[in-house]
């Protein structure tokens, strides 16, 4: 019969303690997320109503709803994704499937990493210089979207590169081996199998840009507009900017208003992110190898 020595018993205890410590840490990470939503809900509850979501702000933004800010956020996110998604995916495809591992490629990769680390307010200044002034777009939805797109590019490129790398190299070799061209291999082997990962990255980028404030500050977002944007050359209001405005710049806003606005913003981002999670889980069950 096997009798565990005192060393083995100690080992078991250490194992257990370590596991418990890890689960504690993980649990504490979960708390702030839950706490924020709970707190926002408690504080913002009095303002929440259908009208709050569907009406314009009135009386100098101290009453009414936040409808225009939702519309503005929607516009900015949609256009920025339409711009950054194809550009990012194509750039990643080039880097992963075509570029030789030379000096230039390494510089490009480094540049992408650095771009991801640039603070968003610097992106805002870049957008102001490049899109608003140089390309003469003016402060507009278009300029703000482009700024957001530039900010999202490194995120999308990096996540796409990861998804492309997740497709085993042997699949590509097998495809080349039977006389398929590089383009055919990308079209029929690489892309279909990395699409879930690429989509997930894009959806996370959407969530990120929905909450962005600084990057759109000088390029197309307005404190208050009495009308909804009609074209992409108009300015717009956004949830994130509106939250900043009514929390710090306007006197006489009911306490519940900023909290309710923050809640709407957070729920919006969470729902977008959960789409990403659902997509990923769905495709994982359909994983083909």
């Amino acid at each position: 019969m096997f009798n565990p020595s005192i060393h083995l018993l100690n080992k078991e205890i250490r194992e257990k303690n370590f596991k418990n410590a890890l689960s504690m840490v993980t649990f504490f990470l979960f708390l702030p997320a839950l706490g924020i939503i709970f707190w926002l809900f408690i504080k913002g509850y009095p303002a929440l109503s259908w009208d709050f979501l569907t009406l314009d702000p009135i009386n100098g933004m101290t009453a009414g709803g936040i409808f225009p800010t939702i519309v503005g956020t929607f516009w900015l996110v949609m256009i920025s994704v339409l711009v950054s998604c194809p550009l990012g995916v194509l750039a990643a495809l080039y880097l992963s499937e075509y570029a030789k591992d030379g000096k230039l490629t390494r510089i490009i990769r480094l540049a992408i990493l650095n771009l991801a680390g640039v603070p968003s307010i610097v992106h805002a200044l870049f957008g102001l210089g490049a899109f608003v002034l140089f390309m003469k777009m003016g402060t507009s939805i278009l300029a703000a979207s482009f700024t957001l797109a530039v900010m999202n590019l490194p995120v999308i490129i990096t996540s796409t590169l990861e998804s492309l790398k997740a497709v085993p190299h042997s699949f590509r070799e097998a495809s080349w081996n039977v006389g398929a061209s590089k383009l055919q291999t990308i079209r029929y082997i690489v892309l279909p199998n990395s699409l879930p990962g690429i989509l997930t990255g894009v959806v996370f980028a959407v969530g990120r840009s929905a909450g962005e404030t600084a990057a759109i500050l000088f390029t197309g977002v307005a404190f208050y507009l009495p009308f909804l944007p009609q074209t992409v050359f108009d300015q717009c209001m956004t949830l994130s900017m509106h939250l900043f405005t009514i929390s710090t710049q306007v006197v006489g806003v009911p306490v519940s208003y900023p909290y309710a606005t923050a809640l709407v913003l957070i729920l919006l981002i969470l729902s977008v992110n959960s789409v990403a999670v659902v997509l990923r889980t769905y495709f994982r069950t359909k994983r083909k190898w």
């Binding site: 042997s170 699949f171 070799e173 097998a174 495809s175 081996n177 039977v178 006389g179 398929a180 055919q184």
Partner: protein, 251 residues
């Protein structure tokens, strides 16, 4: 005998590591050439240069000439047509992440074939040739990646046959298959010899003995010995190292 492939002064190197040294080799029409030799002697690199899979690896440098039916294979910018003529079976089985049917018809579809009847014919024909048809005929829509290792290896062979190659390169094809299936495939290769030229890298010396018309012994990027099987396996060997390898003294 007509020469199908002529390899002239072939040098292959990875960075400053030379894996094939000044190699000259003629391969005849409809023969089975077995290449034996210990690991790291450049057998796989040699095979991969014949269908220019080396193009996809930036670190590899290939110098010298390889003639297929008298024409230089490195002359054409586009190598996809060459790869349809020179099929390749890799040592580790790769089922592409699609159905069994799509796997086998992948090559003809990529070559532009849309005729459903023709694709179905290729599907059945190639799977039968690779001794896999009976096992998968009822589930052609299933994912190929879910097949067992041995089945995937036979699928790889079926896929390599699907584009009607003139030359078939087999790189240790039996590494993942059981002996019974190996014998089945060997019988198939014996049949295929009528239409194909087969180059076979193998670690199983008996396989070279059974299947090959000629056997080449490679070591450190050079061919030590090359002769018809009757001679090489009856002891007519120039190099002592070949003799030692065949008799199992080293390797």
């Amino acid at each position: 005998m007509t020469k199908k492939i002529e390899i002239k002064n072939l040098n292959i190197s990875y960075g400053n590591k030379i894996v094939v040294k000044n190699l000259n080799l003629d391969i005849f029409q409809n023969e089975v050439l077995a290449i034996i030799g210990p690991a790291n002697s450049g057998k796989t690199s040699l095979l991969r240069s014949i269908n220019r899979m080396t193009d996809f690896n930036n670190e590899v440098k290939v110098e010298g000439k390889i003639l297929l039916d008298g024409l230089d294979i490195f002359e054409d910018e586009d190598s996809t047509f060459l790869r349809r003529r020179v099929g390749m079976v890799s040592p580790l089985p790769v089922g592409l992440p699609m159905s069994i049917k799509d796997n086998v018809t992948y090559a003809p579809r990529m070559a532009g074939c849309k005729d459903k009847a023709e694709l179905d014919f290729i599907l059945e024909d190639c799977l039968k040739k690779a001794a896999l048809w009976d096992e998968v005929k009822d589930r052609l829509d299933h994912l190929a990646t879910k097949l067992s290792g041995g089945q995937q290896q036979r699928l790889t062979i079926a896929r390599a046959l699907s584009h009607h190659p003139e030359v078939l390169c087999l790189d240790e094809f039996s590494i993942a298959i059981d002996p019974v299936t190996t014998m089945k495939i060997e019988a198939v290769l014996h049949e295929l010899k009528k239409d194909l030229t087969i180059i076979m890298v193998t670690n199983v010396i008996n396989q070279a003995k059974r299947l090959g018309d000629r056997t080449a012994m490679m070591l450190n990027g050079e061919i030590l010995d090359l002769n018809i099987n009757q001679k090489i396996f009856s002891g007519e060997i120039n190099d002592k190292r070949t003799k030692d390898y065949i008799e199992g003294v080293f390797g």
